[in-house]
């Protein structure tokens, strides 16, 4: 319709900045959705913090100085004989080791002195114990040898969200559990996108028999009962992060094929694709330079939703006990504990709030992304 050239000042060189005008407009649209924009920042901050979980919640000091030597116990496993003990790995929470190091130097502890697998041996009641702020000082330190006068009765040794039924700190498990869930979700989404987009691209671009055959294969493949296959495989292979990721990847890539294939089928008949073909441009260049950018819009719109879907799947598998190996910090396992210990509501509530906040943030980001990529949406 518009026959006039928009008045944009003529630059002498290529446009500055890495992003094209379209990408910039989308970013503006994304920012216009305040809820999604803030959700993204909140999520990023939490996620990046959780990547450094070892520095936030750990049963060993971040830095220590012993007899003039600077040590980084977070990174390196020092044998205990270094400090006069006999174990292969040093237990820095042991009063003997602690006194030995503090006598010959100092220790810098993370704010929470528990890792996800550290059991608190000085719990006031039988596990699960409630959060420390529900008790007075006498009570919460009653298990220490010297009671509330004990040098270990400090804030870093307290269980902010109580302990689970094996006396492990719920706060620490939550932080590590969040990290493993998000990482699992991101990796699964990333790998599924790579496989799904390539499959969709091949089907959509070549069409015909390729398309027909692969479509039928996908139909058969996606009709397999995933949960039962997981159960069977879990019985043969030891369940672990990577094996679980691999098994779920086998089925999750299918979600992307439909959209990408449709975009390719539509776009391969565009005149600019014919024009590229007439220039003698090869198939792979056409796919990557002309068609993939079109398909990526649909894919990107999908990503946050697939990500939250992957996290939910992992959590539910953990809840059922078919997920990560026992002892792993997992939110699903926390829910299962909450279900078993209804007298300890902090277990279930913690898991509930972490999962619901995490998924809500992702969905808000997803909504904003979807709106940002919608060319018809206008923002006032």
């Amino acid at each position: 319709m518009d026959q006039t050239v928009h008045t944009i000042p003529t630059e002498a060189g290529p446009p500055r900045g890495f992003f094209s005008p379209t990408a910039k407009r989308r970013w503006r649209n994304f920012k216009a959705n305040r809820r999604g924009y803030w959700s993204l920042w909140v999520f990023l901050v939490i996620f990046i913090l959780s990547l450094f979980s070892e520095l936030i919640a750990n049963d060993r000091p971040i830095l220590a100085s012993y007899k003039g030597e600077l040590l980084a116990p977070v990174l390196i496993d020092y044998p205990e004989e270094k400090f006069g003990g006999f174990l292969a790995r040093t237990d820095y929470r042991d009063p003997f080791i602690r006194d030995e190091i503090e006598a010959n130097g100092w220790m810098l502890w993370p704010p929470i002195r528990y890792s996800y697998r550290t059991a608190n041996s000085y719990i006031p009641y039988s596990a699960p114990t409630p959060p420390f702020w529900t008790m007075d000082k006498e009570q919460r330190c009653s298990a220490y040898p010297m009671g509330s006068e004990d040098p270990d009765c400090i804030i870093g040794n307290m269980n902010w969200l109580g302990t689970d039924d094996q006396a492990r700190d719920v706060m620490a498990r939550m932080i590590y559990g969040f990290r493993i869930s998000v990482l699992f979700g991101l990796l699964l989404t990333g790998f599924s996108a790579v496989v799904g987009v390539s499959m969709g691209a091949i089907q959509g671009y070549f069409g015909g028999w390729t398309d027909l055959t692969l479509q039928r294969l996908i139909e058969i493949w996606s009709s397999m009962p995933v949960l039962y296959i997981l159960l069977i495989i879990a019985a043969i292979l030891p369940p672990g992060f990577w094996i679980l990721l691999f098994i779920m990847l086998l089925f999750s890539w299918v979600a992307f094929v439909g959209v990408v294939r449709a975009e390719f089928l539509r776009a391969r008949n565009f005149e600019y694709v014919s024009a590229a073909r007439a220039l003698g441009v090869g198939n792979s260049t056409i796919i990557f330079r002309h068609l993939l950018p079109n398909a990526m819009v649909a894919t990107l719109t999908f990503l946050p939703f697939i990500l939250s879907g992957s996290i939910t799947t992992l959590t539910s598998l953990d809840f059922l006990g078919f997920g990560l190996p026992p002892g792993s910090p997992s939110l699903g396992e926390l829910i299962a504990q909450g279900k078993r210990n209804l007298q300890a509501p902090w277990l279930g509530l913690t898991a509930f709030f972490v999962i619901s906040i995490m998924l809500s943030l992702l969905i808000f980001v997803g909504e904003a992304t979807r709106d940002a990529f919608d060319p018809r949406k206008t923002f006032r």
Binding site: E271, A275, L279, T285, R289
Partner: protein, 542 residues
Amino acid sequence: MSDPLLSIRDLSVAFHQDGQENLAVNRVSFDIKRGESVALVGESGSGKSVTALSVLKLLPYPAASHPSGQVLFNGKDLLTANEPDLRDVRGNDVTMIFQEPMTSLNPLHTIERQIGEILGLHQGLFDNAARDRTLELLNQVGIRDPEQRLQSYPHQLSGGQRQRVMIAMALANRPDLLIADEPTTALDVTVQAQILKLLETLKSDHGMSMLFITHDLGIVRKISDRVCVMTQGKIVESGPTKEIFDSPKHDYTKHLLAAEPTGQPPKSDERSPIIVEGRDIKVWFPIKKGFLRRTAGYIKAVDGIDVTLRAGQTLGIVGESGSGKTTLGLALTRLISSKGKIAFVGKSIDSYSFSDMKPLRNEMQVVFQDPFGSLSPRMSISEIVAEGLRVHEPRLSPDERDHKVASVLEEVGLDASTRWRYPHEFSGGQRQRIAIARAMVLNPRFVMLDEPTSALDMSVQAQVVDLLRKLQRDHNLAYLFISHDLKVVRALANNVIVMRQGRVVEQGPSEQIFDAPQTDYTKALMAAAFDLEASSADIVSD
């Protein structure tokens, strides 16, 4: 006859987008008397369609708004009318027909149901009464065998028949005013002539007023009593048709009237070397039937055509849509598979595979019809033009490549400093220049031009035709020019093939085809294209 039927006073239309307000129509005023037809003429983006749509308040409100103005229909302001009153007027007193007859008909409804719906809504006619009236209307608009057509779906009708059905729907309630928004732009010239003739008869029979929106001045001269010339949202000149055509006052009107493509095609030269030669070219698409998808027959898109194209010469291929002209072009450039001998500069290329063709692609180039679809929206102009260079001259350094891109952009008449911009920042004519630059940067010997001007405004068409002719002279190019627009073909081609249903109807030097056509079909085509004269339906189908 004193009071005008429709009176538009001071009408403005504004659109909100990205927080900005764009004035699409700026204080437009005109009147339409009873039984009069008024044409709104202008190029795309001039606001003529928006003006017409605001008469019935069909714009996307609230994104659109009317900062000022009145639309008085029989003395009543439609802009302030409420929705029920408007619905009464729409389809009853004022009706519209649109440009694209395929998308204006519901593909899931039969013809009987489409027309019957309006009759039921506004006149309360149902069943047999509605059926009789529908048949009467179909007869009126000249659909043959209307009884059989009642149960047809839109896809079973040709473009001309669909537009006739649209007109029948518009006439169903004997409207006082018919708004026709480019009703013939999507149709072939012969069908266009028939539809115009139909509209004219209907107008005189029913005493209907007509608001005719078009960019084609030939149609205006033929059909309208008065003309309003619009540009950039304003009416710059209005008056009786004859007056405007004979003594235009405003510069823009003069510019529009002078915009016909002119100039002489290259002289035929039997001695110049043959670039492309095709013998007995056939493109048959199989029709598959049954469970085992056996080939039951063929659609003969191109059925045995001989082509000879020499350096510096232009071969025009004309014909209606579906006549196989684009398919022939694609077969000659080996973009689709075909049967028959094809030679390119003496080399036989009919058995070449797609990858065998790759080294030859820089010598044969294609320019497509739609300048909006043929440029990737995600690439800058520089990237678009350089794409072919990356394939065919991969050893060029970035600086050399950039230099080539800049010089070819200058050659097609664009400012080279705009090469970092994206296609959406350019107008249709500029985009077509970019598409031409993309083909020219590889120094081709043969260029296939597939309707390169048909999506462009008249005045831009003339500029593109001039550009193509200049490039041909400078580089001794061989053009295969495919078009349904005979005026453009006459200005460019020295040899013409007239195609119909995959076969050659007539072929020869262009003077002979244009000045002394031999076959009835070619004569009908010429009459329709140049004089908008309809021919009998025996020669041309509708």
